[in-house]
Symmetry: C2
Subunit: 232 residues, 2 copies
């Protein structure tokens, strides 16, 4: 039996961070089909595995523990799979970067498609996207990250912060050529980190499986169609 | 000299969680005026105290450490001021509840005012707001929280999860009578927890100071005017 269960839509988006941490940590997991996700979302909070509003939800079978909220799951798995820095500050900065990644996804989808992208809106957004890339870069360079070496928080090997950052920018770059160009032009440091981390065997395997399972899908819905028109 | 510095707008909203944790933990802090917040927001990431997009930003003077992202600051202060449960699971659930609180604020402001409230939108939102209240309630009742006693994660005294939950629902109730009624009708357990926690001296003092400093303001901007029309 696999160690974990994940409830997340069959697209990369917010779930890919969790899949990436599980894969890098050498853990096995089962995913639930869409109808089962919808079923537990519709239950009264008291009958849910953990009282939650939306996926991802992770169940740790061994510890009989369920948790929701992507940033909380990422930190939980970081503890569980020993992928967090040892210092007080490094752990807090990991949480900060994971929440930053969550915000970038919100902005890229105009908060889950509250609005649709137009060329004008996209043009206005590009400098902000570049600023996000530089924010990730600077969080790393303060701790010794360079284009060809190092990790975001000064650790010897990748941690949750690196996996989440690599998946954030790498998954986007792989699906939106315009965004790949923006990342490469803005920060060779982040481009290289993403390539180095995503090139490790478990994450390379995950990336291949995701294209097999989800095709070119990124976040799904009308907002993905609208995003492809401006950044595809 | 005060122990911490906080950069946050002169309104409750997302900053009030941080103020509440600092106040409950017996820490002193300085706040920066709006022009200084705008100034550091506009800097290149390398010249910011920590590379960040938007406030809150906390500076821990003693440890010479700066961090952004409300949920990351809340957990950092939880560690720093000893306000987190001792168990692995309790700490993860604290992060989950803080991220839930962040999501409730996003939803209540239609993601920072991307849209404006109308009576129709509000009517459709009320069942979802009630579900959020029940999610918080159920996260607590699973761990022994009752209307007249106990805390969300089974601790003997309030932790970050309780302070954030009390501030989330209490601050909203104090400013929007319609929302107070919804909370009271939906969950006497959450209503009571918020009253018990917010009634403790440091949080009562903070609440009074916030009304003195910010008046009736909640999140500010056009979206607050629009929210008052449907929930005021």
């Amino acid at each position: 039996m696999n160690s974990f269960e994940l409830y997340y839509w069959p697209v990369p988006f917010r779930g890919q961070f969790i899949r990436g941490i599980l894969a890098y940590g050498g853990s096995s997991w089962d995913e639930h089909p869409v109808d089962e996700i919808e079923e537990i979302m519709g239950r009264e909070p008291g009958k849910q595995p953990v009282a939650f509003m939306g996926p991802p939800v992770l169940i740790d079978r061994e510890r009989r523990f369920a948790i929701s909220q992507m940033p909380a799951i990422a930190i939980y798995l970081g503890e569980r799979l020993d992928l967090l820095p040892k210092t007080f500050e490094g752990r807090a900065l990991t949480a900060k970067l994971v929440n930053d990644a969550n915000d970038v996804l919100d902005e890229l989808t105009l908060d889950g498609g509250r609005e649709m992208w137009t060329p004008e809106k996209w043009e206005k957004f590009v400098p902000r996207l570049q600023k996000w890339v530089r924010i990730f870069e600077n969080n790393g360079t303060r701790n010794g990250l360079r284009a060809d070496t190092g990790f975001l928080l000064g650790t010897e090997s990748p941690g949750v912060a690196d996996i989440v950052t690599a998946i954030l920018w790498g998954t986007m770059a792989d699906r939106f050529p315009t965004i790949r160009q923006i990342i490469d032009d803005t920060s060779p440091v982040i481009q290289s980190l993403a390539t180095r981390v995503n090139g490790m065997t478990p994450l390379e395997d995950l990336s291949r499986r995701s294209f097999e399972d989800y095709g070119e899908a990124y976040c799904g819905g009308e907002i993905e169609i609208s995003l492809r028109k401006v950044a595809g």
